[in-house]
Symmetry: C5
Subunit: 102 residues, 5 copies
């Protein structure tokens, strides 16, 4: 899984009939900086993930990708490959709290 920060959302009214009504979030993967191990560094790319947990802008979330993403939604035949499976409370690295949700 990867960590990502929610930055926005996407609307597509013309879509595949098997797409569920879940919200489409625009998220940016984040990693713990290799240089300092003390901050979440934003990646250069963005992904679209469906969300049924109610994540909001600025939240750090846990994203599952690939075929496992389908197991995270109610309909296993939903053609999705990235889903929010957790809203992160804390990230601890080397016993320091690097991130804490507000």
């Amino acid at each position: 899984m990867i960590l990502a920060r929610v930055e926005g959302s996407v609307v597509a009214t013309k879509k595949n009939p098997k797409m569920t009504g879940s919200k489409l979030l625009l998220v940016r993967p984040v990693s713990v900086s290799a240089a300092t191990d003390q901050e979440l560094k934003s990646g250069s790319g963005t992904l679209i993930a469906t969300d049924a947990l109610g994540a909001g802008e600025g939240d750090v979330v846990l994203i599952v990708q690939g075929s496992s993403a389908r197991l995270a939604v109610d309909d296993k035949d939903s053609p999705v490959d990235a889903v929010v499976i957790g809203i992160v409370d804390t990230v601890d690295v080397q016993r320091r709290e690097l991130y804490k949700a507000k």
Copy 2:
């Protein structure tokens, strides 16, 4: 899923018999720029995705990849790994409308 912009199309008459008649679009993945969070930045690579929604050149589309792509087409045995599952109307980031379809 990823966002991508439709740039063109590909024709292959000699192909696998299980390939459906769907159009093969040439698409370029786009991401929200990390620097400004105000524009869609084009990636350096391109992909080929099948499309049954009628996306045209210049449209921003939602692409599903991997095994989930097969669930987006009528024939689950179709050997495809990237399919257009939505034509994007709007992309909102930090409550600003970053993209709107014409």
Copy 3:
């Protein structure tokens, strides 16, 4: 799917018993150049894909990857993750013909 150019071939006599007799092609992924949108740019890496369509050196082909690749071969239990599913005739970008097979 991705576009790739056939550059050569690989022979492995000591191989997994489930491997079919298909030819193993060495292919280099190509993308439409982001700078000019007028040429196919070669990638820095190479892949090995099985081929049953008879693609030859210099041909631009369509490659499917991952679990979908297995659906493109006759034996679904074949342990392959990249297969040629089309020999490309033309690539059109912004209504210009960027590539045409000889």
Copy 4:
């Protein structure tokens, strides 16, 4: 599979109901340095993997990704795509012991 070093952990109380109780580890992929072949070089990104083997901070672990990750957990319907499947004792390269667990 890839090698990774355990750097920390993540807590998410609001999560998908199918997520098991396994600990969520923050790991950083490591590779053998191409320049010297004598050290494990840390990657720039980090992943989140579930762990049922009891790996601790600093351990080098073996990670399986994708659909195969689900086979490594007790519940095949768990929506995970990265799981610790081994705690590494030694890494040998060109017959030299490059890493040994303490």
Copy 5:
């Protein structure tokens, strides 16, 4: 599939009970150099792949990844995502023999 060179091996005594007894090889992906098309260029990262063919250090091997890797081992429930499926004899590019096993 990808080509890779065997560089070493990994031992993990504390591992997932579904892991088979296959040897864990440390391999480095190689590609045909885009500049010259005359040599195998080593990648910067390394992977771990299981092997039942008896590949040794220095051998160039064919690696299958993802869910297809499971079809290459005797036990389909083995949680592996990279397996050696061939020991390469020759790599030919543009009708020149670029690599030949010793």
